[in-house]
Amino acid sequence: MSEGLAKGVGVARAHHFESVAQQREATTLGIWAWLITELLLFSALFLVALILRIQHPEATVAAARHLKFWIGAANTVVLICSSLTMSMAIEFSRMGWQRAMVRAMLATAALGTLFLVLKGYEYYADWDEHMMPFLSSRPFALEETPAARLFVNLYYVATMLHAVHLFTGITLLLGMTWMAAKAGFLSRHQNWIEIYGLYWHFIDLVWILAFPILYVVNRGT
């Protein structure tokens, strides 16, 4: 990672590290350790989805076919685009092109926000079609297959947990962009961009897994 850095780009050593290389290694390992926990957090939900499919195949298929497949697909495209802009931001940071990097970061945040807007619209459409079984006051469209309620509710738990991660990510990204726009950022904190990039890619990865598991594979019988 430290290879291929342009002149004037680097990391300022914190007092308790012996060297910059040690500091970089520690932060990279740290974010990967965190990503392991994120993976297991979501995988437990995916496991629940699998068990629902095993125990209630018909209801799960009925529920999955009611989800907004095309909005989900569009959102996947949005996140893949944001992965591209994030990768570009990392490359720009290594090249020392600070303004280009800041723009790529802003684009990433914008795409992330677009995802959330689409997700919000999807929730609205779900509400409109009586697909919110956890609302006790609102009748459920698939009332005749009670177990469909389980999968639909699991969809909300999983997508909301993902949305919380994305929202946190956008907030952090905007905060970091604000700092990264200042002179001298890249000479002190270039690795922040790399570390953050790993987080962003991983949140994309989680969606790449969630989209087929929730929307796609359960359409087929």
């Binding site: 007092h15 308790h16 590290f17 040690q22 290694e25 520690a26 390992l29 740290g30 350790a33 965190w34 392991i36 926990t37 994120e38 993976l39 297991l40 957090l41 979501f42 995988s43 437990a44 939900l45 496991l47 629940v48 068990i51 629902l52 125990q55 209630h56 209801a59 079984p133 956890f134 006790s136 009670p146 177990a147 309620r149 389980l150 509710n153 699991l154 909300y156 738990v157 947990l161």
Partner: protein, 558 residues
């Protein structure tokens, strides 16, 4: 801060503070003394003491709840308190002891304090994250305490659905939220340890020169990272279930309550090793130090730590043999559970072999360590009884289980905690505790513990179910015996709280290495300076370089 100014200030406030030696920087305790310098510190040693103070508070709460439980069981007919009060008492005892004492006990205090010292680092890799994790812990604790103050919880610490989601009328939600939050604190601590042990070792400190304490904490941290997220998800689903009737655990909608048990035990069985492994690390430090002998089979003990941390993920189903899981799953989980015997045996026999032909000093830490070995052996083997399918059908959910896991949790973890506390007390505080009092309370705790919990093995085999507020009268004798033992145990707990606190002001000043022990933490002053070492420490040739060394095959010396 100006160094000289703070020293004067400290001396004015605290007449017994060690005199500042000319040219020597103040130690971490006296570097600064404002409240701010404690609550916003990033020094791993100070954060360890913040944890120590908080978990001691929770230990007292949990112990009081245990006292209520033992009081209720003196009579068989539940005349002392209502069933609901009893149920809340054992739930609070379980929740507080498991999540707010046992899990953070050794890692967040001793691990936090000692890992950087033992590997020759200035601090953990992420000092701010370390402080954050203490605040996260306290936030979770606050939620749980709110639930206790509002009226308590009666679900048991296991929170089984659908009792916890659809039927209990107590304050389940705040307790669930509290436990969920505390999980993040565990994750952050584990993450910090893993990264620190991988990247912050002093030059020359290779993996096989690390003390076993560091190995076991590495293994524990892996469990923190790999298991905790799953219970976070399980608890999030449980919270959603209780608040919004999501349904995945609710049979009323076709959900499966056994699925919650799978997710719960995927974490909670490994969590047993979160509690046990650090204690094994403590014992592996104490035994060689007081036997004046190199740890026997160092590499095997090190690998056994990683082995335990891995095997523990394959055995969770042994908590569910009678709970409606498939027979296939029961057979598989039972068979794999026996594999836990291998790394556990490695530890116990190697400690025993270390004592063999040593030169033993039976000071307080060593008394705790020897008690630990005996009780852990009994606790571990009775675990195999429970893993045996046909026996489990009889003693599952009886007092046999209660006795078994108290032998592991109290006989194991708490004894290791107290042993470690006495062993490193001079390092933490710069003061010596009273050795005679230490020995008296160690013996009291050992006796009180056995009187409390051994009768419970018998009660369990006789068929007394656990979590019973009332019980058939023929079990009264053993229950009274158990309650009597609990009072001895309580006395044993109270003594250290008194004489250790007393030693803070009136104890003899500790030298850098009062036990003449090996390990980098003893190379620096007691208490250590803020950045741990004045000059970079020299890594020893081999770990546990004590005067007496058994001949072992060559590869183990390396």
């Amino acid at each position: 801060m100006s160094a000289s100014g703070t020293i004067e200030g400290a001396a004015h406030r605290e007449p017994h503070a060690p005199e500042a030696t000319i040219g020597r920087k103040p130690d971490y305790l006296h570097a600064e003394s404002t409240l701010r310098s404690w609550f916003f510190t990033t020094d791993h040693k100070r954060i360890a003491l913040l944890y120590l103070a908080s978990i001691t508070g929770f230990f007292v709460i949990g112990a009081l709840a245990a006292g209520v439980v033992r009081l209720a069981l003196v009579v068989p007919n539940g005349a002392i308190m209502t069933n609901d009060t009893y149920n809340k008492a054992f739930t609070i005892h379980g929740v507080v002891m498991v999540w707010f004492f046992l899990i953070p006990s050794i890692p967040a205090t001793f691990g936090n304090f000692l890992i950087p010292l033992m590997i020759g680092a200035k601090d953990l890799a992420f000092p701010k994250l370390n402080l954050t994790s203490w605040y996260v812990f306290m936030t979770g604790a606050l939620f749980t305490l709110v639930s206790v103050v509002l009226g308590g919880v009666d679900t048991g610490w296991t929170f089984y659905a659908p009792l916890s989601t659809a039927f209990s009328n107590t304050w389940v939600l705040p307790a669930l939220i509290g436990v969920t939050i505390v999980g993040f604190s565990s994750i952050l601590t584990g993450l910090n340890f893993v990264v620190t042990i991988h990247t912050m070792r002093a030059p020359g400190m290779t993996w096989f020169k690390l003390p076993i304490f560091v190995w076991t904490h590495y293994a524990t941290s892996l469990i923190f990272l790999l298991a905790t997220p799953v219970i976070t998800t399980a608890l999030i689903l449980l919270i959603a279930e209780r608040a919004f009737h999501v349904g995945v655990f609710d049979p009323a909608y076709g959900g499966d309550p056994v699925l919650f048990q799978h997710l719960f035990w995927f974490y909670s069985h490994p969590a047993v090793y979160i509690m046990v492994l650090p204690g094994m690390g403590v014992i592996s430090e104490i035994v060689p130090a007081f036997a004046r002998k190199k740890l026997f089979g160092y590499r095997f003990v090190a690998y056994a730590s990683i082995g335990l941390a891995s095997v523990t993920f394959f055995v969770w189903g042994h908590h569910m043999f009678i709970n409606g899981q498939s027979d296939l799953a029961s057979l598989v989980f039972s068979a794999l559970s026996f594999a836990v015997a291998v790394p556990s045996a490695v530890k116990v026999y190697n400690w025993t072999a270390t004592i063999h032909k040593g030169s033993l000093r039976l000071d307080t830490p060593m008394l705790y360590a020897m008690g630990y070995i005996g009780l852990f052996v009994l606790g571990g083997l009775t675990g195999l009884y429970l893993a045996t399918l046909a026996i489990n059908q009889h003693i599952h959910a009886t007092y046999f289980v209660v006795a078994h896991f108290h032998y592991i949790m109290v006989g194991g973890t708490v004894l290791a905690f107290l042993g470690g506390l006495h062993f490193w007390w001079p390092k933490f505080t710069g003061r010596m505790y009273s050795e005679p009092w230490g020995r008296v309370s160690a013996i009291l705790i050992f006796l009180g513990f056995n009187v409390t919990f051994f009768p419970q093995f018998i009660l369990g085999y006789l068929g007394m179910p656990r979590r019973y507020a009332t019980y058939p009268p023929e079990f009264q004798l053993l229950n009274v015996l158990s309650s009597a033992g609990a009072t001895i145990l309580a006395a044993g707990y109270i003594f250290p709280m008194l004489y250790l606190v007393y030693s803070l002001w009136f104890g003899r000043k500790a030298p850098a290495n009062p036990w003449d022990a090996k390990g980098l933490e003893w190379e620096t002053s007691s208490p250590p300076p803020t950045l741990n070492f004045v000059s970079p420490p020299e890594v020893p040739r081999i770990p546990y370089d004590y005067p007496i060394q058994a001949t072992e095959s060559k590869d183990q010396h390396r």
